[in-house]
C-alpha cells in the first residue's frame, strides 16, 4: 500500500469537498468541459490527483481512479495521504438496558435469526 507524505496544507480541491484520487505519478487527465474549454488535471509526484470541479470528479470517476483517504498524523501537523485504503468498518456499539440476564437472552435470540 503506497503511503506518501504530502504538504501540510490540503489541496484546494480537497478543501472544496472533492475527493482526491489515486492516479499514476505524472499522469495527466484531459477533457473538454461543457463550455468548450479544455481542462487538464495532472497527478502529483505521488500519483495523487486533485479534482477542482464536479466535472473533474466525473471524469476521474470515469477513469476508475481509486479514492484517496486523507488522514492526520498525531504529531507534527503533517498531512499523510493514504492511498486506496477503504475507511475501516467500525461496528455500531450495542447498547442495552436492563439486567444482564435479559441482555444474554436478547443476544441468544439474535443468533437464531436468519
Amino acid at each position: 500500500m503506497a503511503e506518501t507524505t504530502g504538504p501540510a496544507e490540503r489541496p484546494e480541491g480537497a478543501e472544496a469537498g472533492y475527493t482526491l484520487r489515486r492516479g499514476e505519478p505524472s499522469a495527466s487527465y484531459g477533457y473538454a468541459a461543457a463550455d468548450g474549454t479544455y481542462r487538464e488535471i495532472a497527478a502529483d509526484d505521488a500519483g495523487v490527483v486533485t479534482p477542482e470541479t464536479p466535472e473533474d470528479e466525473a471524469i476521474l470517476n470515469a477513469f476508475g481512479l481509486d479514492q484517496v483517504r486523507e488522514v492526520r498524523t498525531p504529531s507534527g501537523g503533517t498531512t499523510t495521504r493514504k492511498i486506496a485504503d477503504p475507511e475501516p468498518v467500525v461496528p455500531a456499539p450495542i447498547t442495552t438496558e436492563g439486567p444482564a440476564d435479559d441482555q444474554a437472552a436478547t443476544e441468544g435470540a439474535a443468533q437464531e435469526g436468519d
Partner: protein, 339 residues
C-alpha cells in the same frame, strides 16, 4: 495543373471554443473524402413581375466533411480524443500509454487542409460527429472522420508543420490472435469495423455558422466478418442457449456477451519483419465491456460451396461503471495538448 493526390489534413485540439489552435498537432495523408466549406442558399419566394423567382440569399455557411485517413499510431490519438472526449496519459518515456474514454463533452478541434497545392483552408470550431475505424484482411486500417464545423477560413499558404506522418499504419494482421470475443480469439475474423457516432449537431445562433456544436446520444457499433464454425452463437442469439433442447422456442432475452475480458477486446500491435511486437510498443486496443449482439447475418445456404460466413453486429451499451468504449493507444507521443 495540380495533381489530385497532392494534399493533406492537419489537426489540433483547441483550448477553447472560438479560438483556433495556433498550430497543427499532426498532419496526415488523406485517403478519401474531404472537408469543405458548406453553404445553404435559400430562395426568396416573393411574387415577381413574371414567373421567375424573386431572388435568393445565403442562409448558412459552415464546414462539413468525412475525410478518411490511415490509422497511424501517433495521430490516431487526436481523432480518438476528438470523438470520445476524455484522455489520460501515463508513462515517463516511450511508449506512452494514452487511454481515451467517453466523456459528456467533446473538444473543439481545428482542422486544416491542403488540396492540390492550390487551395489552403482552416476549419476552426469543429467537432467529430462520427469516427469509423475499418480493419480488413489485406488492408491497412483507416479512420473515417465525420466532422462538422462552425466556420471555414481561407489561408494564403499551406500549413507546413509538423511533418506529414507517414509510415506503415496499423494493418489487419497486427491483430493476430488479439480479436477477442468474450475473451476468446476469433482467428477467422477477417474484418472489424468500429463506428462511434457522437450525435454532434450545430446549435443555431445569431450568426452565419451557428452558435455551438452540441453532442448527442452516443452510438457504438461493431461489425465483424467471421466464419460460422458452429451454430452456437446463432443458437444463443435466437434460442437463448448454445445447446437448446429439441423444439426450443425463440428467446425473449438479449444476448449480452460475457467472458473475461467481457464483451469485445480488440488489439492491434505493430510487429517487426519477423512478426515480433516492436519495442517500444505501438498498439491500439479497443475494449467494450458491455456488448449485445444486434444481429447475425449469413446463416444461409449458398450454391457455390463457400464456407458459411457471418456478419455479426454488436452494439455497446453503458456498463455499470466506466466507459462503454475505451481505446488505449501506446506510442511515442508524450502528450496530446490543447492549444
Amino acid at each position: 495543373m495540380p495533381a489530385g493526390n497532392i494534399g493533406d489534413l492537419a489537426v489540433a485540439i483547441q483550448a477553447a471554443k472560438g479560438t483556433p489552435a495556433p498550430a497543427a498537432l499532426f498532419r496526415v495523408p488523406i485517403t478519401g473524402g474531404g472537408l469543405n466549406p458548406t453553404r445553404e442558399v435559400t430562395a426568396l419566394e416573393g411574387s415577381t413581375a413574371n414567373r421567375v423567382r424573386m431572388g435568393a440569399f445565403v442562409a448558412r455557411a459552415r464546414a462539413e466533411g468525412s475525410p478518411t485517413i490511415y490509422a497511424m499510431p501517433d495521430s490516431l490519438g487526436a481523432f480518438l480524443f476528438a470523438a470520445l472526449g476524455a484522455k489520460a496519459v501515463t508513462g515517463a518515456a516511450d511508449p506512452y500509454e494514452h487511454t481515451f474514454t467517453l466523456a459528456p463533452s467533446q473538444p473543439y478541434m481545428t482542422f486544416w487542409r491542403n488540396v492540390g497545392g492550390i487551395q489552403f483552408e482552416r476549419f476552426p470550431d469543429c467537432k467529430v460527429s462520427q469516427l469509423v475505424l475499418r480493419s480488413a484482411e489485406g488492408a491497412a486500417m483507416t479512420a473515417e472522420i465525420g466532422i462538422i464545423g462552425l466556420r471555414a477560413q481561407n489561408l494564403v499558404a499551406a500549413v507546413g508543420t509538423p511533418a506529414l506522418e507517414v509510415g506503415i499504419p496499423f494493418v489487419h494482421y497486427d491483430a493476430e490472435q488479439q480479436l477477442l470475443v468474450e475473451g476468446t480469439p476469433v482467428a477467422s475474423m477477417s474484418s472489424v469495423t468500429t463506428t462511434i457516432t457522437t450525435g454532434a449537431t450545430v446549435i443555431p445562433g445569431d450568426n452565419l455558422g451557428g452558435y455551438a456544436i452540441a453532442e448527442g446520444m452516443v452510438g457504438i457499433r461493431f461489425e465483424t466478418s467471421q466464419l460460422i464454425e458452429d451454430g452456437a452463437l446463432w443458437r444463443r442469439l435466437h434460442y437463448g442457449s448454445a445447446t437448446p433442447g429439441d423444439e426450443a422456442a425463440q428467446t425473449r432475452g438479449l444476448l449480452e456477451l460475457g467472458g473475461a475480458p467481457a464483451g469485445l477486446s480488440l488489439k492491434w500491435t505493430k510487429r517487426n519483419n519477423a512478426g515480433v511486437a516492436v519495442t517500444p510498443e505501438r498498439s491500439l486496443e479497443i475494449n467494450a465491456p458491455r456488448i449485445v449482439i444486434a444481429n447475425i447475418a449469413g446463416m444461409e445456404t449458398n450454391n457455390n460451396g463457400e464456407p458459411l460466413r457471418a456478419t455479426v453486429t454488436y452494439d455497446a451499451y453503458q456498463p455499470g461503471s466506466g466507459s462503454a468504449l475505451t481505446a488505449i493507444l501506446r506510442n511515442a507521443v508524450a502528450t496530446y495538448p490543447a492549444t
